[in-house]
Amino acid sequence: MGQWQLEFESVDYTYPGSDRPALQALTLRLPTSKRSALIGQNGCGKTTLFQLANGLYRPQRGKIYYQGVPVRYDGRSLMQLRQAVGLVFQNPEQQVVAATVEQDISYGLCNLGLPEPLIAERVEQILIQFNLLDLATTPVQHLSLGQKKRVSLADVMVLQPQLLLLDEPTAYLDHGHTRQFMALLQSIHAAGTTILLATHDLDLVYRWADWVFVMDQGRLVLEGTPQTVFAQQSQLTELRLEVPLVAEVLSTLKQFQSPNPADGQVSIQQLRERIVNTFF
C-alpha cells in the first residue's frame, strides 16, 4: 500500500451554469490509514471534493489518483472506484432510497450483482456490527435521525470500502448519539479503513483527527496535524474559523506549566477572560 490513499492534482471543477469555480487548482494528498478531517466555511468546496473522489463528477482540469493510479471513468473502473471509496451523504434522507433498513443496506450489494446468499450474509453481518438487527425490517419512515445516520453509514460500510468519506455526520445529533457514532467510526478506523470527515465541529476535529485539511474557496489553504493547524491563529481567524476551545485551553495550559508560576497565574486569569468573552 502506498503512502497516499487519494491524490488530487491541481483539480478544477465548476458546476454547469455556475460562474464561480467550486474547486480551483486543488492539490491535496490523503494519507493512507489515517483519520483525516476537512474543515472550512460553508461553500468552501468540501462536498464537491467528495463527489469527485467518488467519481460522481469528472475534473475539468487536473488529475485524481486513487492509490497512485489515475482514476478512469469507464463503467467498470467507476464501479470499482465507488466500491472502494464509500461516500456517506450529509442528509440521510437523501441517501436512504429503499423502504426498509435491510433493503437499503442490500442496495449497493445488489448493484454489484452478488449472489443472494452472499448478500444475505453480508447484510446480516453489518446489521449486527451496527446494532441494527432489531430494526432490519423496519420501514425507514419509522427511524429516528440517529438511526437513519447509522443506516446511512451501514449502507456504505457493507461494501467494505478502503476509504470512507463522511459529510457532516454529527450535525443535529445530540451528545449521546454523537459519541455513539464516533465510537462506530473508531472501530471502522481500527479495522484499517482510511477516513476523511468534513465537519464544522472543530473540537471534534481537534480531538479525533490525525491530520487536518483547511479549505477556502475551492483551494487547500492549510494542512497538518491538529496541533500545528490550530496554532495558526491569525490565518484561521482570517478564514472565519475559530481555534477550538480545547486547543486554546491546552496551549495556555502549556504556557502555564512553565517553571515560573507567577506567569502562570497571569495566563490563567487571561484564559478565564478569553473563555468567557470569546463568544461575543
Binding site: 460522481l56 465507488r82 451523504f89 432510497v97 429503499a98 423502504a99 426498509t100 435491510e102 433493503q103 442490500s106
Partner: protein
C-alpha cells in the same frame, strides 16, 4: 412523517402470517362476496371484522372510522337511488314501486321501493368487499404486498416505481406537513384568500424539493453503484399458522354452503 394505517400494517398481530396466505384468503372471500346473497355478505363483513379487530388487534376505533367512510359514500349516493321523478300523468306506471311521494308542478317525486332494495344490496356488498380490502391493508405492510406482486410477475418497471414511490411519499409528506406548520405559525391559513396563496406556495415548494431530491438521489444512488435497475434484497421471516389456515378454509366452505342454501 407517518401514516396511521401504514403504521398499523407494520405493527399488527398478523404481520408474521405469510402475505401469500393472507392474499389468497382474501381473494377467495372477495370473490364469494361479490357473487353472494346480501345475508352472506353481512356474515362475511362480521367474520373479517373478527380477523381484523380480533386477531390482528387493529384498534376498533380506527376500523370503525374506516367503515364510516363506506357509510358516508353510501349516504351520499342513496338519494339518487331512492328518489325518482316522473311526469304526473305517468304515475300509474310506477304504482308498485312508489312508497310515497309528492307532486311538484307537473312532476311526481317519489320514494322508490326498488331503489331501496338496490341501495340495501349496495351497502351489503360494499361493506363485505371493504372488509376484505381493510383486512389486507391493515395487516400486510406494503413491502410484503410488493414482494408477492413481484413473485406473480409484476413488470420490473412497476416494481421499481412502486418501491421508490412508497419511500418518497413519506419524505414529501413530511416536507408538506413541515411547510404547512411553518406557514400556520405565521398565520398562513387565516382566510380563504390566504389559504389559497399559502397552498400555492406550499405546492411550488414541494415541487422544487422533489426536484432537489431527484438530483440528490441520483448522486447518492450512483455513489453506491447504481446499475440501471433498483433492485434490493429483503429477508423473509414468516411463520405459517395452522390454526388460521384451518379457520380460513373452513369458513370459506361454510360461506359457499350457506350461499347455496339461500
Amino acid at each position: 412523517m407517518r401514516l396511521q394505517l401504514d403504521t398499523l400494517a407494520y405493527t399488527n398481530q398478523l404481520r408474521d402470517v405469510p402475505p401469500e396466505h393472507k392474499l389468497a384468503f382474501v381473494l377467495t372471500v372477495l370473490i364469494i362476496a361479490l357473487c353472494a346473497h346480501p345475508l352472506v355478505q353481512l356474515v362475511i363483513t362480521l367474520w373479517l371484522s373478527v380477523w381484523t379487530v380480533g386477531y390482528a388487534k387493529i384498534p376498533l376505533g380506527v376500523y370503525f372510522r374506516l367503515l364510516m367512510v363506506v357509510a358516508m359514500f353510501w349516504l351520499a349516493s342513496i338519494p339518487a337511488l331512492l328518489i325518482n321523478a316522473i311526469p304526473v300523468q305517468e304515475i300509474s306506471q310506477i304504482d308498485a314501486d312508489s312508497g310515497f311521494g309528492v307532486t311538484l308542478g307537473s312532476l311526481y317525486l317519489y320514494w322508490s321501493q326498488s331503489g331501496m332494495v338496490l341501495s340495501g344490496q349496495m351497502l351489503a356488498r360494499a361493506l363485505a368487499t371493504s372488509a376484505c380490502l381493510y383486512f389486507v391493508m391493515l395487516t400486510t405492510p406494503f413491502i410484503a404486498l410488493l414482494r408477492v406482486l413481484k413473485r406473480i410477475g409484476l413488470p420490473l418497471i412497476l416494481q421499481e416505481l412502486l418501491l421508490l414511490t412508497y419511500r418518497f411519499i413519506f419524505i414529501l409528506l413530511a416536507t408538506a406537513s413541515e411547510v404547512r406548520t411553518a406557514q400556520q405559525s405565521r398565520n398562513g391559513y387565516s382566510s380563504w384568500k390566504q389559504s389559497l396563496h399559502s397552498l400555492s406556495l406550499l405546492i411550488t415548494q414541494l415541487l422544487y424539493r422533489s426536484m432537489h431530491h431527484y438530483r440528490q438521489f441520483a448522486l447518492s444512488t450512483a455513489a453506491r453503484g447504481f446499475s440501471g435497475t433498483f433492485y434490493v434484497w429483503s429477508s423473509q421471516h414468516y411463520h405459517v399458522s395452522r390454526r388460521y389456515m384451518l379457520e380460513a378454509i373452513a369458513g370459506c366452505v361454510v360461506l359457499v354452503g350457506l350461499n347455496s342454501q339461500l
